[in-house]
């Protein structure tokens, strides 16, 4: 089977900045006419509250296994030429890139759908958690679906 027909998939967790330009280069290919890169970045405002930083924690082995599972799932649903999923852990400042998804397909519709699938599902099943560092000095784990009080740090 030629390289063209093999979906080249790679996932990574990192404590440092994500080199999204390199990820994008890695999925480019003459077999693909379309590349979609998604970056999640640390946003200042969430429901009107001001964030100064986020701390990301992961369950590394399972997180990587689930990220690779998602890449394989995408490659089953769409003609993926290459896919990369990288998540950063640790302390991130405003504007920092927390997650990058890069995917290439022959045509753009598939590349957009595969990219959207990868980030949507990552947020649902990959065991990584973020803690908000609010501007008022409090911190708070973000756990969708659970209700809890703010812990003042």
């Amino acid at each position: 089977m030629s390289e063209t027909n093999q979906a080249r998939l790679h996932v990574e967790l990192t404590d440092g900045p994500i080199d999204f330009a390199a990820l994008t280069e890695e999925v480019r290919s003459p077999a693909a006419g379309a590349v979609v890169l998604f970056l999640g970045t640390v946003r200042e405002l969430t429901n009107g509250r001001r964030t100064v930083a986020l701390d990301y924690e992961g369950y590394p082995e399972m997180a990587k296994a689930k990220m690779l599972e998602l890449c394989r799932g995408a490659a089953e649903k769409w003609p993926v030429v290459g896919a990369r999923v990288v998540h950063r852990l640790g302390h991130l400042e405003l504007g920092d890139v927390s997650v990058a998804v890069a995917v290439s397909c022959p045509h753009r519709k598939d590349a957009f759908e595969a990219g959207r699938f990868l980030i949507d599902r990552l947020k649902e099943i990959v065991p990584i958690w973020k803690k908000e560092n609010w501007a008022d000095g409090s911190t708070e784990w973000v756990h969708p679906g659970s209700e809890f009080t703010t812990e003042l740090s």
């Binding site: 999640g40 369950y59 927390s98 990552l122 947020k123 099943i125 958690w129």
Partner: protein, 81 residues
């Protein structure tokens, strides 16, 4: 048997530790593990309802078995990305 449970995120913060040893019956299920976890570490009660359990890297339902030597982790709903 004794099973080590890894805790993450708010679960670790509430329990004050990143892992706990639990004494379980030989034919224990994930459901029993949850009960033992909360009774041994009642500070996890606020998130007991939403706590997820992973066994050997896979999400596990309450009726799934927990075998000796399994890698078990308990954590709240994920919020990466």
């Amino acid at each position: 048997m004794t099973v080590t449970v890894q805790l993450f995120a708010r679960a670790r913060d509430l329990a004050g530790t990143s892992s706990l040893e639990l004494d379980l019956s030989e034919a224990a299920t994930v459901g029993e593990l949850r009960e033992v976890l909360i009774s041994q570490e009642p500070r996890l009660t606020p998130i007991a309802r939403t706590l997820l359990v992973a066994v050997d890297g896979e999400y596990a339902a309450n009726d799934a078995p927990v075998r000796e030597g399994a890698e078990v982790a308990c954590f709240p709903p994920v919020s990466g990305g």
